[in-house]
């Protein structure tokens, strides 16, 4: 357990409570000049993950350190490493699907051993772990939590597209309630995914992470600031990135931004970050974004055919809304402190 402290201010700033200096506010300009993934990746048109990875690499580039990426099997790996590598000058270690956390640990250990031998300076490197939601919430959870529990320095990025996409859209532990996937089909008897997902930041904080954050590639300044903070903060840091997937979400390829905006508007994806002060065992929570208007989840379900079945059933939509409201209720103290009633700015008026 830990004590919860809320940041009164809503929004994203380069300041961290754990760092003496702010990180670079690179989102708008600086990063554009740097390169992330090089060309030639094989991702689908409109893939959100490519953009997410790109921004992570751009943000890390600006730290001036060399990135060693331990990546788990999944779309991100498959589309960037087929018979070639799209990772530019990043060192990449793909070492199977269930073990991204462990691979990350192994590379952290190697760096420590090199440092002991006087052969490398830990400050010159960043250990980055990267995996999909399946590789994080399900098969890779043990290795990830163990890595966090070891308290090692590094960043773990989960590219969450809410299903196993690389193998053809099967339901994962991060698949939303009611979603149609190939293993949670919308059937006559059982209507889509019956589970509600767990939340990675909760799991990571419980395991002892120093810093956790959620992000999305559409809010690139927010994303890149968070990655920079994760790079600067000592100990295990976890960033979860919302990744639009036209293939698995059965959406058009050109509505990446719209879908993300709806996710933020309907609070289906909440942008926030949390930092742990180990001395006082306190976690400080910052909410980064509050929707302009109160919008029901029904709007989020529109552009994505994976929800085509559930949107016909009002009780299912209601249930999805309940899931959102219960998650959002955590932020009540912040909303109240900002004079936002009922959970969104519209109610203010």
């Amino acid at each position: 357990m830990y004590n919860i402290l809320y940041n009164r201010h809503i929004g994203t700033t380069p300041h961290s409570f754990l760092l003496p200096d702010p990180v670079l506010d690179v989102g708008e300009y600086g990063a554009i000049l740097t390169t992330g993934l090089s060309s030639g990746h094989q991702g689908c048109t409109g893939c959100g993950m490519v953009s997410g990875t790109n921004q992570v690499l751009k943000a890390l580039k600006l730290t001036g350190k060399h990135v060693v990426a331990s990546i788990g099997t999944g779309c991100n790996e498959v589309i960037t490493t087929q018979n070639t590598s799209c990772w530019g000058n990043v060192s990449v270690d793909h070492n199977n699907f269930p073990n991204t956390g462990a691979t990350l640990s192994g590379n952290v250990a190697a760096l420590r051993a090199l440092a002991r031998a006087g052969a490398a300076s830990p400050d010159a490197f960043i250990n980055l772990g990267m995996a999909g939601d399946g590789g994080t919430y399900d098969i890779g959870l043990q290795a990830l939590l163990a890595w966090i529990a070891r308290g090692e320095d590094g960043i773990y990025v989960c590219l969450n597209n809410q299903a196993y996409m690389n193998t053809g859209v099967q339901g994962s532990g991060a698949t939303p309630y009611g979603t149609h996937t190939s293993t949670t089909p919308f059937g006559k008897l059982i209507r889509g995914n019956q589970r509600t997902p767990q939340y990675l930041p909760d799991l990571a904080l419980a395991a002892g992470a120093s810093y956790v954050a959620t992000a999305c590639p559409v809010q690139h300044r927010d994303l890149m600031i968070k990655v920079q903070k994760a790079a600067a903060i000592e100990g295990p840091c976890v960033v979860e990135i919302y990744s639009v997937c036209p293939e698995g979400w059965k959406s058009e390829t050109d509505v990446f931004h719209e879908i993300t905006e709806w996710a933020l508007q309907t609070r289906s994806w909440i942008l926030y970050e949390a930092e742990r002060d180990r001395k006082t065992n306190t976690v400080l929570f910052t909410l980064n974004h509050v929707p302009e208007k109160h919008v029901g989840v029904a709007d989020y379900l529109k552009l994505q055919e994976r929800f085509a079945g559930m949107r016909e059933f009002p009780e299912m939509v209601e249930r999805a809304q309940e899931v959102i409201e219960s998650r959002w209720s955590f932020w009540q103290p912040v909303l109240q402190a900002n004079g936002i009633q009922g959970g969104d700015k519209a109610h203010e008026l």
């Binding site: 991702g43 193998t167 053809g168 006559k188 059982i190 036209p246 293939e247 058009e252 390829t253 055919e305």
Partner: protein
């Protein structure tokens, strides 16, 4: 009446008909579609099974083993997934738990590779499971039902695995006879637990720790149970034949009864071997030939195989396999056969050579079998041969080489003497008679080519022909060029699963494929064959020009399929292409086929049927000129629309869902 199913779909039927009560799963290519099909049935209420969306294969295996003490349980996996299960699978064997696995065989890497070979099956061979190899979807289905029958026999009580080669097996769509439920119920009685956990009257403990005295006895008993399998399997295979008309043995012998030259192998790779063997069989000027298709790999029927070879008077045995045994002299199958023949036949044993091929999805072709029979011929003549495996399709290490130039220098140093004494004999290499007609589609992933080919296959089967559709794809994302091949056999009953790769029809779903630097669409297209192109902007002469192909080289047809689809508000052009195919290829009669499409076409049905009609009507080999500029369709995934109503999705699987892999 056969139903068109993929190998994975057939395996799913195997579990369904076996009335599997607990089915946990974890996705992995190329066997995922089996679990997807079962999820679909369960969510629709068509199958009464408790499924678990497991969080890893380790958990899925643990779950079948846990549940398998009280109920019939099973799952499907491949490659790393199977390797991840192995840690627990011993508990199924050691705990006498007769659960079932379906394995879509795949390479295990590194390097990561999602395509087929036997590495996964070989990695599990010391886990104590019965291992059966199926050559196609039908055999996978039949073997799963028989697997439970064998595994649950009181003299056996061991877990089993049914193996089917990835893609060419798991993703091949063909006619499969689905047994009647009542017949299967007669053949396979309900699960009878031996030492259940949910039995308050007799509580038991599984997984107790045993000291050496008890441990060694236990292991000995486990081995004894394994040695009962062959007899039980033979009986189960015979009775299966009595009820379903498809008897099974421990292995199958194809070819001459007296066969000096034999090629032995397991599983789906037998398809091209089958064609070659039948071609060489009884041919003048060469010794008797046979293909030994082994179904039961574990426990290995050593005595039975040795006897069969002795009876046939076999002198040379070439063992082909799609896997390695690092550090051993021979890979696993060759090693098992060599041990068997040596033990049982002594100095009369045939000489055994090992050939490795089909690794990581490498094609297994007819010419490979021609080479292997030629090699066997040389060995039978007493020429020297290698005591370590030969490899197929390694340019610098061919099976036959006449001069130093044909091989890598170090290899020539080592094997030059053997190579010099080997003779490549032309009589093994005559082109095979073409008993089939073959169609190849080049499309972009997401265009629905596989779905249309599967529909065509279903229509063809219903009209009394034998068809097989094999999509070739991998980790392509939307937009990548993929091929889908269909084979049509109108020569009667014998199953032909082997492509000659001489295309009668080549179809392009997209005219930009004409200029793809990576694809030569004329490759393999027969002289005078048909090229059908979806285009609204290119004329027939222009297409010839792009390909620099003469009038006699090929006949060109065009169809404005994108335009048709767009006009009808369809997001896929595949239905129009399906109609067009019927225009250029008439072996599957359009009228009859249309009746099939009326029942099975994907939604929206009216428009799909209209697209088929328009595609058929608007296909032309004339100079079609269109003023309208083509607008490329946005490929949208109307996922739910692709689910045909009722249970017809059993008949026309949503191939679209299988398109992504990893």
């Amino acid at each position: 009446m056969a139903t068109v199913l993929s190998g994975n779909g057939a395996a799913a039927w195997g579990f369904r008909l076996s009335r599997v009560q607990c089915y946990p799963y974890y996705p992995i290519t190329p066997s995922t579609a089996c679990s997807q099909q079962i999820s679909r049935w369960v969510n629709d209420g068509a199958m009464n099974t408790v499924t678990i969306n497991a969080e890893s294969e380790h958990s899925a295996a643990s779950q079948i083993i846990a549940a398998g003490k009280d109920v019939r349980s099973g799952t499907a996996t491949s490659s790393k997934g199977l390797l991840y299960m192995i840690e627990v699978l011993e508990n199924a064997a050691g705990g006498s738990i007769p659960c079932g696995l379906f394995i879509g065989n795949r390479a295990t890497g590194a390097p990561i590779n999602i395509w087929a070979d036997n590495s996964d099956a070989y990695a599990m061979r010391d886990s104590g499971l019965i291992q059966l190899f199926a050559a196609d979807g039908q055999e996978a289905l039949d073997n799963i039902i028989q697997g439970y029958r064998i595994a649950e026999d009181l003299g056996v009580r061991l877990p089993f695995a049914v193996n089917l080669r990835g893609f060419t097996g798991t993703h091949a769509y063909e006619g499969v006879e689905i047994p009647q439920e009542i017949d299967v119920d007669r053949y396979l009685p309900p699960f009878a637990p031996l030492n259940p956990l949910f039995a308050p009257e007799k509580p038991v403990t599984y997984g107790a720790m045993l000291s050496a005295t008890f441990y060694r006895r236990h292991k000995r008993n486990q081995m004894a149970a394994m040695s009962n399998v062959a007899e039980v399997a033979l009986k189960a295979g015979r009775e299966f034949g009595e009820i379903f008309g498809r008897p099974y043995g421990l292995f199958e012998w194809v070819g001459d009864e007296k066969a000096e030259l034999v090629v032995a192998l397991m599983g789906e790779s037998a398809s091209p071997g089958d064609a070659v063997t039948r071609h060489l069989q009884g041919k003048r000027g060469i010794p008797g030939v046979a293909l030994l298709k082994i179904r039961l790999f574990s426990p290995f029927p050593a005595r039975e195989i040795a006897q069969a070879l002795a009876k046939a008077g076999t002198k040379a045995l070439v063992v082909f396999e799609e896997g390695l045994h690092h550090g051993a002299v021979f890979p696993p199958l060759a090693q098992r056969i060599a041990t068997a023949t040596h033990l049982h036949l002594g100095t009369d044993a045939p000489k055994v050579a090992s050939v490795i091929g089909g690794l990581g999805g490498s094609e297994v072709r007819q010419d490979h079998f021609q080479q292997m029979f030629n090699l066997a011929d040389n060995i039978a003549e007493g020429r020297p041969y290698r005591t370590e495996p030969y490899w197929l399709d390694i340019a610098e290490d061919p099976i036959f080489a006449e001069s130093e130039k044909e091989a890598a220098p170090q290899l020539w140093k080592r094997w030059g003497e053997v190579w010099k004494k080997q003779a490549r004999k032309e009589k093994y290499f005559d082109p095979l008679p073409k008993n089939t007609e073959e169609i190849r589609i080049y499309s972009r992933a997401g265009q629905g080519a596989i779905t249309s080919a599967v529909g065509f296959t279903g229509a063809g089967i219903e009209s009394g022909l034998q068809l097989l559709t094999v999509p070739a794809f991998g980790s392509e994302r939307r937009g990548a060029i993929i091929t889908t091949d269909t084979l049509v056999n109108d020569r009667g009953k014998r199953k032909i699963r082997s492509f000659n790769r001489a295309w009668d029809v080549v179809i392009l779903y997209d005219d930009t494929i004409l200029s793809s630097p990576e694809h030569n669409v004329l490759e393999g297209l027969k002289e005078g064959g048909v090229l059908l192109v979806n285009t609204s902007r290119l004329r027939v002469t222009k297409i010839r020009e792009i390909l620099s192909a003469s009038e006699s080289r090929l006949r060109v047809f065009t169809v404005p399929a994108s335009e048709i689809a767009q006009g009808l508000g369809l997001s896929h052009l595949n239905m129009a292409m399906l109609g067009a195919l019927h225009r250029v290829y008439e072996k599957v009669p359009f009228e009859k086929a249309f009746g099939y499409y009326e029942k099975h076409v994907p939604r929206p049905r009216e428009s799909s049927l209209e697209a088929i009609q328009q595609g058929h009507a608007q296909t032309t080999d004339r100079e079609a000129v269109r003023a309208k500029k083509e607008r490329r369709l946005v490929v949208s995934g109307d996922f739910l629309d692709w689910r045909p109503e009722d249970h017809s999705y059993d008949l026309w699987p949503t191939a679209l869902e299988e398109i992504q892999l990893g």
